[in-house]
């Protein structure tokens, strides 16, 4: 195994860009022109000087483990276009067939880069020590009594919120959903604000969702009834939480919006990065990264959050395999896990995870609902499926088993995305392997492998 690890691909680097504008700006900086003194170390650090409009070139350094970036430019984007450009340059050299542009060869880092890299190494050592100290119980700086009182106060407020919300839902049903169309969004927005006050962000988010349903097109009353009923179920779950079995109680707490601890037994594995995509509610960008453990066979979800304009952390290169330790969150049927501090240098291109038929996929979602009734979808890999236009008069598509008569409709939200066309192009009418989220709205494809290829093609 090459000590420097596998260099990332262009697509993987571009996926790290916080927005389209920096993606383009980065691509334009990926040629030799402005770069000098570029280099990389065997431990996954990449650095270079980029000539900008000023006299002094910008100093850009990246630790691809993590990854973490530092650049002396004034950009608030993260990673900035210089970091992206340099990574693209480095990625292009990874193929080693041609080294024409700038030689990002291996060697010792210059002082300015080394200083930052040393700082990072030191911090991670300190963190490790602190973690060790905590594990040994020597770091008991918190007052457990005060923490307990705080938790009780918060639980009481959430209970108040849940009762208020129940009242609101029964009022809605008493007066009829038809009236909800007229009452408009404002009323729900106000209820959502009350849930935020009650420190139940999970309830607040669901209430906001409810508010958007009456304007969501044909069939909205059915959807509104379904979501109201599930929200009612969550309220009831919280109000009777002491009667629930422990794992389900944890799930209810998480759904209401209380942080669930990442305290499961850590899993060390070689994780294939299946997909990474961001969603935004205007204030916070949420990043979801799906990982598949080569040895454990586990699928895990790593979440990252970023304020507006900043790219959430972490960022992992889709399609490569990283060695890392994941700590699962508690709760029934939870896939969420935290990424350990030490992430190895990406090692190799991963082949598709094992998968199954479309029937197996809906069954997997169905049984996951038993653990967590509020689950929107479940991660599955479909083996040997063909994208097919669904034959209706709309623009619908489905993924059909190559052998057999079953198919999963592609979720409406995924139909408008460019990834759909990549999927169709890659299949060319033949069977492919697809990873995605399977739920009651249909299947959302996130990654695809064509027959006989180990390359993971991102659809996000």
């Amino acid at each position: 195994m090459d000590i420097a690890g596998v260099r990332w691909t262009t697509e993987q680097v571009l996926a790290l860009a916080p927005d389209d504008a920096s993606r383009r700006a980065g691509a334009r900086l990926s040629a030799a022109g402005p770069w000098s003194d570029a280099g990389s170390s065997g431990e996954g650090a990449v650095w270079g000087l980029c000539k900008g409009s000023g006299k002094k070139p910008y100093q850009t350094v990246i630790d691809t483990k993590g990854p973490a970036y530092k650049c002396s430019c004034p950009s608030r984007k993260f990673p900035c276009k210089h970091a992206l450009g340099l990574l693209l340059l480095w990625a292009a050299e990874g193929t080693a067939a041609v080294r024409t542009v700038v030689d990002v060869g291996d060697g010792p880092a210059p002082d300015w880069a080394e200083e930052w890299l040393r700082g990072r190494r030191k911090r991670s050592e300190e963190q490790e020590e602190r973690a060790k100290a905590e594990a040994e119980g020597t770091a008991g700086h918190a007052d457990p009594e005060a923490a307990r009182r705080r938790a009780e106060r918060r639980a009481a407020r959430i209970t108040g919120g849940a009762q208020e919300l129940e009242q609101r839902l029964t009022d809605l049903l008493r007066g009829g959903l038809a009236a909800a169309e007229q009452s408009g969004y404002g009323l729900w927005e106000e209820t959502a604000a009350r849930m935020v006050d009650a420190q139940a962000p999970g309830l607040a988010a669901r209430v906001r969702e409810l508010g958007s349903i009456p304007g969501s097109g044909a069939g909205w009353p059915v959807r509104l009834l379904e979501e109201s009923a599930l929200l009612h179920l969550l309220d009831q779950g919280w109000l009777g939480i002491e009667r629930l079995p422990a794992p389900l109680a944890t799930t209810v707490r998480t759904r209401v919006g209380l942080p669930s601890p990442a305290d499961g037994p850590p899993v060390k594995d070689h994780w294939l990065v299946l997909a990474q995509y961001d969603t935004s509610d205007g204030k916070i960008t949420t990043r979801r990264i799906w990982l598949y453990g080569r040895e454990s066979g586990h699928t895990a979800l790593v979440l990252g959050f970023g304020a507006a304009g900043r790219s959430p952390q972490p960022a992992l290169p889709v399609g490569l395999v990283i060695e890392a330790e994941l700590t699962p969150h508690a709760g029934a049927g939870q896939l969420r896990a935290d990424l350990g501090e030490e992430v190895g240098v990406p090692e190799a291109t991963g082949t598709a995870p094992p998968g199954g038929t479309t029937t197996a996929a809906v069954e997997a979602y169905g049984s996951a609902l038993r653990e967590d009734p509020w689950l929107e979808s479940w991660p599955v890999t479909l083996t040997d499926v063909i994208p097919v236009p669904d034959g209706g008069d709309g623009d619908g598509w489905q993924l059909a088993d190559a052998d057999g008569e079953s198919a999963l409709p592609i979720a409406p939200a995924a139909l408008g995305r460019p990834g759909l066309w990549k999927l169709v192009a890659l299949s060319g009418g033949g069977p492919v392997t697809v990873f995605g989220e399977c739920g009651h709205r249909g299947f959302t494809p996130l990654a695809v492998w064509s027959a006989g290829s180990s390359e993971t093609v991102q659809l996000t």
Partner: protein, 545 residues
């Protein structure tokens, strides 16, 4: 609570409200509020439905995409393509300061041409971006679609945004072999217009007679605009054998078809039409042998009428506004006459001598312009050379063509090497301000002398103290057309010079930036090309001194 209540009943109660419509009795537990009972039942139903989901029935599967047996792109080239396509939506050529980084959008056409020349297949995952790029840029379309190949066309069928690909398809992949006469006939009779045009071109490339015969089978029933397009496709490989067909088309119902037929015939110097035009033109232009004070002079007597025969031969009777009828007719006669008649008509002189002869009564411009058009139409390099004159002579003082557009067209008839050296000398003598159009007809990459002439002229412009954006057009061309091997010679120009007396403030820095971009673009092009050849050799890396 039991499960017999249907979902529809619950929805109805929920819509109207439990005050108006009591939920079905079997969902109501004793002492329970009606809305709560309804919500409980709905939650149960919802979960039951979600947990019990079944797959849908598979719709009819599409025909698989046809095989594409072209070679797979080498890995580095594949990455480069992803990068070029990622940059495609960047605003291009917005003017102003462009920085030192290459403009990738401008390199995409070159990359596609080279990839097609090497016979590579487009990576499937790149097809959507490729089709989107082709949709937005007409200049990219033919290359992008050729590269996208049969799978690209297959994919385009599913997305209305990409309809253009089916309409404009050259259809290389779907055409039958031209030997398969039955398949050819069938496609000719039933194919889409674009397919038929492509078919005609393909057959003509193999066998001009067969193509004409194919065209003749349906000629009388084609629509006028289709006849025009089919006729136009005879332009490729035009020969004397096409004359009878064209001669017949001179009597076509459509004026545009008649005019095109006449134009094609006049490009055949041995055709009867050319002879008729020659006879007409000869009566208009003659030599005054007695000689005035300045020696022999050309006398022009423009036609006095445009009769029916002239009109049948494609002469348009009505001049555009602002032009006299008689000069309009004269221009058309001379343009359509074989250039070979003039030496004999004008005292056995060579074209070079003829263009220097004085012309009486201000007919010079009219006559020379018509000769220029004739030289272009008949692709006559000897006449083009004579009309262009020596490159060092000022365009105003020279013979023949004075407009740059005309000169560019004349240059197009010269052999590639001669074209480049003519433009090189022109630039050396006159600088860059008028060179843009002429550079556009030169072959890419530019020849050594031409490239050096452009770089020298840029260097002179810089020393002259102007700003580089006065030359941004030529600079942009140079980025795309200079031979990448020139990069090392240009390195020295990237330094920021000391501010010279009287120079525009800061110009030196901007020039340095512009040259840096030029150098890095050339390096990038060299890299692009070596990635496409899959050549593991490192191209020469210039020493930085």
């Amino acid at each position: 609570m039991t499960g017999t209540t249907s979902w529809e009943e619950l929805v109805t109660s929920a819509l109207l409200g439990t005050d108006r419509r009591t939920p079905p009795a079997d969902v109501m537990a004793p002492g329970q509020d009606a809305p709560v009972a309804l919500l409980d039942a709905a939650a149960l139903h919802t979960l039951r439905r979600r947990a019990g989901l079944l797959p849908a029935r598979a719709a009819a599967r599409p025909e698989p995409a046809p095989e594409d047996d072209r070679r797979e792109l080498p890995e580095p080239a594949r990455r480069r393509l992803a990068q070029l396509l990622a940059d495609r939506s960047a605003p291009a050529g917005t003017g102003g300061r462009r920085g030192t980084a290459p403009d990738l959008t401008e390199l995409l056409p070159q990359w596609l041409t080279a990839a097609n020349d090497h016979g590579y297949r487009a990576p499937a995952a790149a097809l959507p971006a490729l089709l989107d790029a082709a949709r937005g840029r007409n200049d990219l379309r033919p290359h992008a679609l050729a590269f996208a190949g049969p799978r690209g066309l297959w994919l385009a069928r599913f997305n209305p945004d990409w309809k253009f690909a089916l309409r404009g398809a050259s259809g290389g992949a779907v055409l039958p072999g031209v030997q398969d006469s039955e398949a050819v006939r069938q496609l000719w009779e039933q194919g889409l217009f674009a397919e038929r045009v492509a078919l005609l071109a393909a057959v003509r490339a193999q066998d001009a007679n067969a193509a004409r015969a194919l065209l003749a089978t349906s000629w009388s029933t084609e629509r006028a605009e289709d006849r025009l397009m089919f006729l136009d496709s005879l332009r490729a490989g035009l020969s004397d054998l096409d004359e009878p067909f064209l001669e017949e088309a001179l009597s076509d119902r459509s004026r545009n078809v008649r005019a095109t037929a006449a134009e094609l015939l006049s490009a055949l110097p041995n055709s009867a039409l050319a002879a008729r035009m020659a006879a007409r033109a000869a009566t208009c232009v003659s030599l005054d042998r007695t000689g005035g004070p300045t020696g022999p002079t050309v006398i022009v007597e423009a036609p006095h009428e445009c009769d029916a025969d002239m009109q049948r031969d494609g002469v348009s009777p009505t001049p555009p506004s602002g032009r006299g009828e008689r000069s309009w007719w004269l221009g058309q006669l001379v343009e359509a006459s074989p250039l070979s008649i003039w030496p004999e008509r004008l005292g056995g002189r060579t074209p070079e001598d003829i263009v220097t002869l004085p012309v009486l009564d201000d007919w010079t411009d009219e006559l020379h312009a018509a000769w220029c058009r004739a030289a272009v139409r008949q692709r006559d390099a000897r006449w083009a050379r004579a009309l262009l004159g020596p490159p060092a002579v000022s365009p105003v003082a020279g013979p023949g063509a004075s407009s740059l557009a005309e000169r560019a067209k004349l240059l197009g008839t010269l052999p590639v090497a001669e074209r480049a050296s003519w433009v090189a000398e022109f630039i050396a003598a006159h600088g860059l301000s008028e060179a843009f159009q002429l550079l556009g007809v030169c072959a890419v990459p530019w020849s050594g002398p031409l490239g050096r002439a452009v770089v020298d002229a840029l260097d002179i412009a810089r020393d002259g103290g102007s700003y580089p954006w006065s030359f941004s057009g030529v600079m942009g061309l140079a980025e795309r057309c200079l031979d990448p091997a020139e990069a090392s010679h240009l390195e020295i120009l990237t330094a920021t010079p000391d501010e010279a007396e009287g120079a525009s403030p800061g110009a030196g820095g901007y020039w340095s930036e512009a040259f840096q971009r030029l150098v890095s673009t050339l390096r990038l092009r060299a890299a692009m090309m070596s990635e496409l050849t899959g050549d593991p050799e490192r191209p020469e890396r210039p020493d930085i001194t």
